[in-house]
């Protein structure tokens, strides 16, 4: 990458966590977060991302592995001495304390009192735009306000690292979009190294500098949102990330060339070489709807299918095409073809993704 690389701030090495079940929740996770970076841990529920967050905070103990924050080993440091701010999914505000007392708690623990404490509380309240609410009790605040109190409480201690656990999941859809922007802006402003856990790929892709995609206790890919979208490392990443996510279609060899679900597929020269290199094993072709278009006639890099249905999505149509038992959606601005009509779909070779159907691993183009 062209940008200058900040030094690693949080280093996680081969962290493993076993709760005692047959399968560990985390199976050897190694990650690095650079100073000032916003990292998103993205994955479906049960992938181990929240466990990893808790291990970083010290709320859970790793079964194996090491961690270091700002060059200092974390493993022997108890939670309360780690200087890591965390915003919980439930916000976890102290219900028996006012907003002011909630925020003051962390300062108290550090022996910061009097004018300095007052000034720092006023600063963070301004930062999260909650001036004038410091005397309220948490249950007298809206969900969005409660979240901002939780954020202020985590920031006021000037932590070395900020952890966000599904910060948007308890907000309504409208608020979610604006808070997404707010948190990102705040991050740009204060430049605090941040790790966010989320199951929402859109959140991860739009907010983070880098994303670690996790599944089954592994990190599958750790890279910038662009790279993860354009060059997913595996079939899982391709289908989990992107809106719309990639659709995987098995390509098989037929007597007269190649086919998908019994319909004709004409790959390009390089694609056919890549497919042939698999020695007759079928290959998964990953396609994203937004990169597809209709072609007038069959030719290289086209798939032939039958129109199944179409929906108007405002300004354009999404045409659902059947390829045997598979369905694929193709956007078009022109009047959509009729039901049952045979159509040719053009794919973009530069965007083409090939995966091994057994391992899900990426198949390199020659």
């Amino acid at each position: 990458m062209a940008e200058k690389r900040a030094p690693d701030h949080l280093v996680i090495q081969k962290v493993m966590k076993n709760y005692g079940g047959s399968e560990p929740a985390l199976k050897s996770v190694s990650l690095n977060v650079r100073k000032g970076e916003f990292l998103a841990l993205l994955g479906p529920s049960g992938c181990g991302k929240t466990t990893l967050l808790k291990i970083i905070a010290g709320l859970e103990k790793a079964t194996e592995g090491q961690m270091a924050l700002a060059g200092e080993g974390l493993d022997a440091i108890p939670t309360y001495k780690r200087d890591i701010g965390i915003v919980f999914q439930s916000y976890a505000l102290f219900p028996h304390m006012t907003v002011d007392a909630n925020i003051r708690f962390g300062l108290d623990m550090r022996g910061i009192k009097g004018d300095e404490a007052d000034q720092r509380i006023a600063e963070v309240l301004e930062l999260v735009k909650l001036e004038g609410l410091s005397g309220r009790m948490p249950n007298a605040l809206s969900g969005g306000q409660q979240q901002r109190v939780a954020l202020a409480r985590a920031l006021v201690i000037r932590p070395k690292l900020l952890l966000l656990d599904e910060p948007l999941s308890n907000l309504d859809a409208v608020l979610r979009k604006s808070v997404r922007v707010d948190i990102r802006e705040l991050h740009e402003r204060i430049g605090l190294t941040t790790v966010m856990v989320t199951h929402d790929q859109e959140e991860a892709m739009s907010m983070a500098d880098r994303v670690a995609v996790m599944a089954n206790g592994y990190v599958l890919q750790h890279d910038t949102p662009e790279t993860i979208y354009e060059h997913p490392a595996s079939a899982f990443v391709a289908t989990f990330v992107g809106s719309p996510p990639a659709i995987l279609l098995p390509v098989e060899k037929t007597p007269d060339g190649y086919g998908i679900g019994g319909t004709a597929f004409m790959p390009s020269k390089t694609l056919s070489v890549a497919i042939d290199l698999q020695n007759g094993k079928p290959v998964l072709l990953g396609l994203r709807s937004d990169r597809l278009s209709f072609a007038d006639q069959a030719g290289p890099l086209t798939i032939t299918g039958e129109v199944h249905s179409s929906e108007y999505i405002g300004g354009s149509w999404l045409v659902h095409v059947a390829l045997g038992e598979h369905r694929i959606a193709v956007p078009t601005r022109a009047k959509p073809p009729q039901f049952g009509e045979a159509v040719h779909i053009r794919i973009d070779e530069a965007e083409t993704l090939l995966f091994d159907p057994d391992t899900g691993a990426k198949v390199a183009l020659p």
């Binding site: 965390i86 919980f88 102290f94």
Partner: protein
């Protein structure tokens, strides 16, 4: 209240009217009567003589204060024992929680007599505890539990611990998610998490449990009677003595009325504390 609700409540109202309110009223009235000289019948007229006797006689004052402080001690000891137990049940019992709660309830529903008789065997001069103490060479002579104040307090704690445990388990189970973890990440070591987060949040449970144990200890009869072996007089044993042995019903009634008044006071203090707690500033 509509007619239908009244109809449904009627049986309960009649029952509690007959078995609770009427006897209580009778008790209250009786407490202002006195027995005739050399007679078991009540003399004519009303007077506050029984209450005057309660206040003036130093023996009764001694019983009053002993009952109060034994109840207070039983309450504090119950709290200290129940808090870690309740925490354990609330946090990490998982599926065993239901079973543990049922076990807690056993002494409560089995009546006071059987567990107290069990305690007799445990605490007696040749009982289990004393033989263990001797086996370990901690004492050569039996420690006297029966007929002593500590013995009665042990019995009270044993009998009424469930009344403390249940509200505490309830309060601790309902602690909001992650608040302890939040306090920890903000820099609070465990003892501060307890002092500033857990205890204030479970305070309603602590108050409820304390009022229950205190009131139950104050009015208990079986435990001090059996474990006290007649040497430790409390309100309960004194009222029983006056009513059944001395046959001075008016005076026994006065003792009972004072006991009920203290009970009401205890409940009032408890609910006042809860109210203050609900609207404290921080």
């Amino acid at each position: 209240m509509n007619k239908r609700a009244l109809m449904l409540l009627l049986p309960a109202l009649i029952l509690s009217g007959i078995v609770f309110l009427l006897p209580f009223l009778w008790l209250f009235v009786t407490s202002f009567r006195v027995q005739g000289e050399g007679s078991l019948l009540m003399a004519e007229g009303f007077s506050a003589a029984n209450y005057a006797r309660l206040v003036s006689d130093s023996y009764f004052a001694e019983v009053f204060f002993r009952t109060m402080w034994m109840s207070a001690a039983a309450t504090v000891i119950s709290l200290v024992i129940a808090l870690p137990m309740a925490r354990q049940i609330a946090v990490s019992a998982g599926r065993a929680k239901g079973l543990l709660l049922a076990l807690i309830l056993v002494p409560l529903v089995s009546g006071a007599l059987l567990p107290t008789l069990g305690m007799l065997h445990l605490l007696g001069p040749l009982g289990v505890i004393n033989s263990i103490l001797k086996d370990f060479g901690l004492t050569t002579k039996s420690v006297k539990f029966l007929g002593t104040v500590p013995g009665v307090i042990i019995g009270l704690v044993q009998a009424f611990l469930p009344l403390m445990l249940l509200p505490l388990v309830n309060a601790l189970s309902r602690l909001p998610k992650d608040v302890e973890a939040a306090a920890e990440t903000l820099g609070a070591p465990t003892h501060i998490v307890w002092r500033r987060v857990i205890l204030p949040l479970v305070a309603p449970g602590i108050i409820a449990g304390s009022v229950l144990v205190f009131c139950a200890s104050l009015t208990s009869f079986v435990t001090p009677q059996i474990l006290g072996q007649g040497k430790i007089a409390t309100f309960g044993t004194m009222a029983y003595q006056q009513a059944s042995l001395v046959l001075d019903w008016p005076f026994a009634s006065a003792v009972a009325v004072v006991m009920l008044a203290i009970l009401a006071l205890g409940l009032a203090v408890g609910s006042l504390a809860l109210k203050l707690l609900a609207r404290r500033p921080a």
